[in-house]
């Protein structure tokens, strides 16, 4: 039986892992390769490296980070943050990424999704959607959550799928960093209309939050950062908890 995936996300700046609360107030969390090694031992299913500065200088640092992480783990590795062109994606993949995650660039130039899917296969292309609740639905934001994209998350996810995306990484901006739980309603709204897997993100604070998003939220995978970085909950403990709740996991 296909298991529910637990994905650790590392927000990286200048080669170091940091984690923000609602996209601000960054605090230091460690060396990416060392963290990846720990996650691998604990049984993480996948790792995402997000470059949160994405300046030209940080690009080269990012390639070194990807390479260092890719040498520690033989698990799927996704890289995102500031991937704006086919060349950016190729650089990440050549450095050892298996998948790239597109956010702002996918909305600005949706053809990029199709271009990358043709070159590397859909399985290598994740479209990341940052969304906030509004009365009339779920509003997509871009540019690290600063700009209203005037799109609805559900419609955009469907379009991204039709253009060749292999997975959707859906982040609730309302919940990000709050540890108040995933936005299950939003996750289910997206997961129910696409055939590709949906990775829920934003709000993980306890093991029960993961159980919720896999059941009520219809998520295929769940991503978290700080809950793992600071060893508040080990991946192993989380998976044991999920298994006792009848959720299939790799243990």
């Amino acid at each position: 039986m296909l298991t529910k995936r637990i994905i650790a996300c590392m927000d990286v700046r200048d080669g170091q892992v940091v984690k923000g609360v609602q996209f601000q107030q960054l605090r230091h969390a460690g060396d990416p390769a060392a963290l990846a090694r720990r996650y691998n031992v604990e049984g993480i299913d996948e790792v995402v490296v997000l470059d949160i500065t994405a300046t030209l200088e940080s690009r080269q640092a990012l390639a070194r980070t990807i390479n260092a992480v890719a040498h520690e783990i033989f698990l799927p590795l996704t890289v995102g943050g500031g991937i704006r062109s086919e060349d950016d994606a190729a650089a990440a993949i050549d450095a050892g990424a298996d998948k790239v995650s597109l956010n702002t660039a996918a909305l600005r130039q949706p053809d990029l999704i199709t271009t990358l899917a043709s070159r590397y296969g859909s399985q290598a292309v994740i479209v990341a959607i940052d969304a906030k609740r509004r009365d009339d639905g779920f509003a997509v934001y871009v540019r690290s959550g600063t700009t209203d994209a005037a799109r609805d998350a559900v419609a955009w996810a469907k379009e991204a799928e039709s253009r060749g995306a292999g997975e959707i990484l859906l982040t609730s901006m309302d919940r990000d960093g709050t540890k108040a739980g995933f936005d299950c309603e939003m996750t289910a709204a997206v997961s129910d209309v696409v055939d590709i897997p949906v990775i829920a993100s934003g709000g993980a604070g306890s093991v029960d939050h993961f159980a919720d998003v896999f059941t009520r939220g219809h998520a295929d995978a769940a991503l978290a950062a700080s809950i793992f970085h600071y060893a508040e909950s080990s991946v192993t403990e989380l998976k044991r908890h999920l298994r006792t709740h009848g959720i299939p996991v790799r243990l």
């Binding site: 296909l2 299913d45 033989f74 799927p76 298996d98 790799r250």
Partner: protein, 201 residues
């Protein structure tokens, strides 16, 4: 020396990295003739079955004559699918044909929320003895990402179920294949790659 065949179907970085970590002596041949001297052949691949059209002769002939002389051949993901006769994904591309049968799309099951593509970790249900699976136990989990899959044939040594039951590991004489990505499947995947290297040694 192992030949890792690059026919432009996706990215070989992960497979190279895993082989390097296992201490394998391998090359990416630039000409088909190099396949004839190899102790083992690996045909990887991600993406669309249509890409295997680039494996047509002279590659097909070189791989064919190496296999006929006993060289082990290991197909990974689309590379395993290529071992069969063809695929509904790209009906014009002709498979290597070492195994009878045709690759078909997984059905999925919306009622059970079983999506296609099949992405993530799923288990191997062992069907018989296999050199590729030495040291592993039935139920071992590995990482899949695909929409098309091989039928269960006599060569199936492990099957996996995602709405349909399909061949996830095939093995017959010197022909080996896995539908999942051993290079992305943690310790279980590395063990399978190591087993293939031992077959070639």
């Amino acid at each position: 020396m192992i030949a890792l065949v690059d026919y432009g179907a996706g990215n070989l970085t992960s497979v190279r990295k895993a082989l390097t970590a296992l201490g394998a002596d391998f090359v990416v041949p630039s000409a088909p003739e190099e396949c004839r001297q190899a102790r083992g052949l690996i045909v990887p691949g991600v993406g669309n079955f249509g890409a295997t059209a680039r494996l047509d002769s002279p590659w097909r002939d070189a791989i064919g004559s190496a296999v006929a002389s006993g060289t082990p051949l290991f197909g990974i993901c689309v590379g395993m699918q290529w071992l069969f006769e063809g695929s509904d994904e790209a009906p014009d591309a002709i498979g290597f044909g070492a195994i009878a049968g045709r690759i078909a799309r997984l059905d999925g099951d919306p009622d059970q929320r079983l999506k296609v593509p099949h992405v993530g970790w799923n288990s191997l249900d062992f069907r018989g003895p296999a050199r590729l699976l030495k040291g592993l136990r039935s139920g071992a989990q590995v990482y899949f990402t695909h929409s098309f899959a091989a039928p269960v044939t006599p060569e199936c040594v492990a099957a996996t179920t995602h709405a349909n039951t399909f061949s996830s590991v095939v093995e017959r004489d010197n022909i080996f294949g896995v539908q999942f990505h051993p290079e992305k499947s943690g310790d279980a995947g590395l063990a399978i790659l190591r087993n293939f290297l031992e077959v070639c040694a």
